[in-house]
Symmetry: C2
Subunit: 894 residues, 2 copies
Amino acid sequence: MPKFVYDFTEGNKDLKDLLGGKGANLAEMTNLGLPVPPGFTITTDACRHYLSHGTTPDGLDDEVGDHLRALEERMGKRLGDPADPLLVSVRSGAKFSMPGMMETVLNIGLSDESVHGLARQSGNERFAWDSYRRLIQMFGKTVLGIDGEHFEHAIDSAKEHKGATSDAGLDADDLKQLTKAFKDIVSEQAGRDFPTDPRVQMDLAVKAVFDSWNADRAILYRRQERIPADLGTAVNVVAMVFGNLGDDSGTGVAFTRDPSTGAQGVYGDYLANAQGEDVVAGIRNTVQLQDLERIDKTSYDELMRIMQTLENHYRDLCDIEFTIERGKLWMLQTRVGKRTAAAAFRIATELVSQGMIDMDEALTRVSGDELARVMFPRFDVTGEVRELTKAVNASPGAAVGKVVFDSGTAVRLTERGEKVILVRRETNPDDLHGMVAAQGVLTSRGGKTSHAAVVARGMGKTCVCGAEELAVDSAAKKFTAPGGVVVREGDVISIDGTSGAVYLGEVPVVASNVVQYFEGSLAPDSDDLVRAVHALMSHADAKRRLGVHANADNGPDCARARRFGASGVGLVRTEHMFLGERRQLVENLILAEPGSSARAEALDALEPLQRGDFTEILEAMDGLPVTIRLIDPPLHEFLPDLTDLSVKVALDGDNATDADRRLLGEVRRLHEQNPMLGLRGVRLALTIDGLLAMQVRAIARAAAGLAQAGKSPKPEIMIPLIATVQEMEFSAERVKEVIEEVEAETGIHVDIPVGTMIEVPRAAETAGDIARAAEFFSFGTNDLTQMTWGFSRDDVEGAFFSRYIELGIFGVSPFETIDRDGVGGLVRRAVRAGRETRPDLHLGVCGEHGGDPQSVWFFHEAGLDYVSCSPFRVPVARLEAGRAAVAGGNSDTR
Amino acid sequence: MPKFVYDFTEGNKDLKDLLGGKGANLAEMTNLGLPVPPGFTITTDACRHYLSHGTTPDGLDDEVGDHLRALEERMGKRLGDPADPLLVSVRSGAKFSMPGMMETVLNIGLSDESVHGLARQSGNERFAWDSYRRLIQMFGKTVLGIDGEHFEHAIDSAKEHKGATSDAGLDADDLKQLTKAFKDIVSEQAGRDFPTDPRVQMDLAVKAVFDSWNADRAILYRRQERIPADLGTAVNVVAMVFGNLGDDSGTGVAFTRDPSTGAQGVYGDYLANAQGEDVVAGIRNTVQLQDLERIDKTSYDELMRIMQTLENHYRDLCDIEFTIERGKLWMLQTRVGKRTAAAAFRIATELVSQGMIDMDEALTRVSGDELARVMFPRFDVTGEVRELTKAVNASPGAAVGKVVFDSGTAVRLTERGEKVILVRRETNPDDLHGMVAAQGVLTSRGGKTSHAAVVARGMGKTCVCGAEELAVDSAAKKFTAPGGVVVREGDVISIDGTSGAVYLGEVPVVASNVVQYFEGSLAPDSDDLVRAVHALMSHADAKRRLGVHANADNGPDCARARRFGASGVGLVRTEHMFLGERRQLVENLILAEPGSSARAEALDALEPLQRGDFTEILEAMDGLPVTIRLIDPPLHEFLPDLTDLSVKVALDGDNATDADRRLLGEVRRLHEQNPMLGLRGVRLALTIDGLLAMQVRAIARAAAGLAQAGKSPKPEIMIPLIATVQEMEFSAERVKEVIEEVEAETGIHVDIPVGTMIEVPRAAETAGDIARAAEFFSFGTNDLTQMTWGFSRDDVEGAFFSRYIELGIFGVSPFETIDRDGVGGLVRRAVRAGRETRPDLHLGVCGEHGGDPQSVWFFHEAGLDYVSCSPFRVPVARLEAGRAAVAGGNSDTR
């Protein structure tokens, strides 16, 4: 017979799956001997059974009855006893906190009879009737599904009748009348009387909590927070204690350290003669926790001792809720507390200093996301700033710019060199080019899964959304903020995607201290946060198995990557060197006939320029490997857009130049329906004579020049878009021929390995074959994700990702975090097959996933040698690689 | 010690891998007691060793010496004996016939001394010197790599000197002089004297044959014929026999049946007093084999007996080469002979009637490609036709049309309803739209791997290429054929892609008898070929495990598919029903705001039209399953082209209509960079309200209507482009809701399974999950190939497939024949994982591969339930499915 009910004395903090977070921690505190009101927990198993069968499991009723009797015995009171009733609360408590999402019913056990007993025992008739009307109100809403407005109306009528301005103006008799009115509402609205049997009250409340797991808002919340839908919730039945029995009573919340900065010392709020709900509702002002020492030194001292006990026991920042009932302290909840990113670093290292945890454990207490947050540039709000509103922090960053209300204007101003913030009620796929152009995006509607939020995060663009206090009027090109502040097109605002704040005017932006430390302009001990980051990064570096390289295309980026801790460059995109002034040379190359002298000239003109680029990069990374990818995109990307040019030539009519006509012919010829799946990558190398040779020659000559000057260049040549080993064989052979030619020409040998991107699904599928001809693999997970899912990122992210996230089809975009099941399956098999063919095959990843925390863990598990990411993500990847190593190293997926 | 040399008495016909085709069959004939000149075979192992190490394997010399001595003993002559020399030929012989590709050296063993012995023994001095000069000439060219022109020049000088018009005009003395001149050429050109040691002659000739395996032309041939590059060739050393020793000598070739029609009765040519080379060179006219009976009855009778023996032994049509030396018959070669497609069917069934093979064996003797060949419409050349030339039969079919010389004209005339043949010197990617428009393509340059050939085969378009006798002058818009016939733009020609013939004017086209039989308009016994096809198709149907369905989008196509033997429709492309007049309705749908009444109206207008389509299809396939795919392509495919419309609006300027401007806005908004990877398939269903419901409603209502009328409609609904099980769950749930609504509305239940295409690599990778929500899979191997390879078929086939085939990266386009390693690997895993989740999962394929013979075998092996292909390919798939079943059934890949 399975056990569905646990007394608090039977559980412990490791049983969160079964007892939920609240129940497990209440049990833990009970077992530590802390003053917890007695009670018991109905398990998530019972909830899951109820949700899938529609009925509670056999035996649950009896088990609950047994635990209730034990509770009554311990308390010396009976539930619903007319003389001295035991009251209980029925509280939800899932494995993961879902604040405000689910239900609670307080004061169960009151009835027309027992309310008198409570009045007598408490010596407070008003309190008793207030407690009773609260029960009926909560029960009516939560269990019976009655619209809360009915009850609010009744309260308002009572106050009006009495001429009172607040609930406090209602006395015991008023509340007694109100209670009767509430019972009438229940009978009318629910078609049944309010149940006076306390056990019936309790059982119905338990089912209502179970049902609340599948309320719409809970489902939505879980999707957003990526909480599995099938966990279910536990239910805690706890003896009521009251903080509202007079001035010797009260309630509070506290943290064992400052959750905002991580500084040591307790921190919290206290409200005398109140219940927890009152603190949340903010009806009266709380006092600082320290003031409790003056109010009730005994309870304060006991609380301090308890908090120390909890921190020592949990070895982490704890947050707690407590109530004092007539001078007696009760602990109502504890858990490991949420904290800011900066606090996380500081707390983790300070717990190490205090001997509570070791450095390995400390690493598990921080995350790459938190590191990224402390690296974002921030607004310097030390001067005078004017905050317009605070809304949803949808995509972090600090952006300043002129307000624009449409994408066309955003693009136009940006082309003029202005910085703009795109402000919209909400965005849709039409706004994509405006979002690309803008510094940041601000919307007045939608949450973290709105179109604006999803697309902005995908782009790494600052975004604040759901700013409902702003009235956006796009037609009039203005928005109105609280207080009637009107902001018009062209006015400057600043938006903080990390905090959600929106400021009027330009708020100065400063680089974070952590970035200044990485840059070398701040010492490792310059402040508490930097000291903590330094200590944890050093430990991560010592522990990690994964190397961290950077994706960088020029000398300065390489130098920064090196300062940020990159031990190589994992991806140089050579096509980036074909832009700007050199575009004309590429155009010449494309327009020249195959085999013509014009083509040879165009290639000859590009070679020294590319050589210069490579020299700069190899010099910046001297002694470290630099993986250079040969040109990847279709050549027509270097030509004008087909539609634009067609319109120009059409409008020019008879006056159209021969050059334009000829160019249009070429653009048409090279136009592709699906350029991502077209003539690009190795296909260019194998069809356009001389292109591969020019690039390889530039690399080999750059390396030879540096070697001659006493440097240690370590270039590696990467062939993109390989789908079959034959392509790899043909191109590697040609690469090696050119390298040998340069060796013959310079008399200098530089070892230049030749490998490939694994970015086409077929390459992953046949990796064992490809490894015969490739000396290394670098997983190009951007393209691999696009082709494995059949997604063109440009096309689909704006078009339907927000809809897919809303539907729960994705928890997160597969372009942000690697899709373990699909793309990940291909990667794992390719790793295995590649190493089988060539045991010393060097394996890395150079898609954007290389800098994503969860993806770094995956690559660690998959057994790659390194990840490569943008220079700014290098520290994040270092930290996560260390965390992955500490957390378990080579898991079963290796 | 491995054995590298086999006497003919030691081998047999099953050792082709080791002894090559020629050697294995010579051994077989020897063991049958047939008169084969003695000899031995050096194995392909020895060749492979030589090719990879550059030297012959240890021990080969001694082994050859031993076999040579044995041969000398048997012949009673010694190699190079001045008195009575043994002469041998050294002949290549690979596993697969590579006619004309590799080398042969005859008359080895002659020298300045032994030539006299040969003269004496043969009593023919001219013959001896002629043999000697032939040896030096062949040896010089083949072994020493001397340009053959030097020898030709010397012969020409000799003839000129003598005043002779042909070789026959040179007497023994002249040939003796010529021999000396030839030896001088060798010394000068090769820098070494012609070796007089016969063993040296032989060893060098053997190596020359080995080397010829890697000659350019051989490599190219193997790529074209998809013969593996690492097989190597065997070398046969055979005692020479001479057919040119007088009128009692001669040589011939023969077939045991007519290889053109398959009719019974021997068939062949004979040439008296000649060697095999003379027959090939066509210097003199041959006589019919039957005439040999008159010339040399003994030999003729023996030959007839031998041919009967061979056919009984090989149980198939054999072709042979023989020589009669002074009345003694010698068999020089035999093999299972090539035949036309029609002959293949007839021979296979007639061998069954004659009790030589059974029906299973007969099935292995024909192929789907052959069936397709006898199904092509053919030109009726019984009337008067004028053949202009005959060139490479690059892509089969019979096409008639007006000649055009550029793609623009091809498109323009086609749009006017004219039929055209595109004639080019060679095609390039620019010609793609012209090729699409034309009935057929004719080029004057390039072979079977040229751009024109590859692209035309990919499109299933008739193509004749490499018509070098035609002088194409595109600028003047004409071509000139042999005899000075000038064909100008607009003149009609007919091209036969099956034979390579090009005719002037319109040659009438007739459906093949086989197609008329499938159509039911010819009886199964109406001619020999139809009778054979009928018998073999019946047997294939009885044996095959794979079902064969058809891809068809309307009633008539379905009816034809059914007549051709389809047992269901595997793919109805519903978007095909959105073309033509209905395009406007789709445009309305796209232009309507989401949720607007205009959108609902557009959907309401489409529903009855779709319902009508489905009713027609389900009625035509009554009682058989019909898999209907919901709309797949991006909606903008139904709107005007972005560039065209942009140009129009720009040119209209201020006069542009509001409708056009609005349309342009929508076209821009919906424009995608990579539509293949964009908003299409299930993504449309999940983002465009009402679209899925409209289509499902039309299907369910059509089915209900037919069921009500007493029919048995069996629709299945297929969701395209599924990448993840969540998409499948959401869409299947919605489909089922709509079906239930229709059931409630009509009161009629029709079982409608819901499944998916597996066409996105991720779907294959996570097929086990997807099978939880899908009742069937249909592999969409077109898209799966595109995404797995990262190829957009439209973009790359013309752009570089011919180059890739030339390089040997593909043997064949992966769009023609399934790529077993890459795409095939995904398919096999998906089959396994899908069936693990759902053992009764129904599995099919609806890509074009479903009608490709090699691919059908793969799908059989992979364990699919059915293949689906275009109606015309249904018989091919039926035949190949039968052949696959007979050939081994469930192979290890299952």
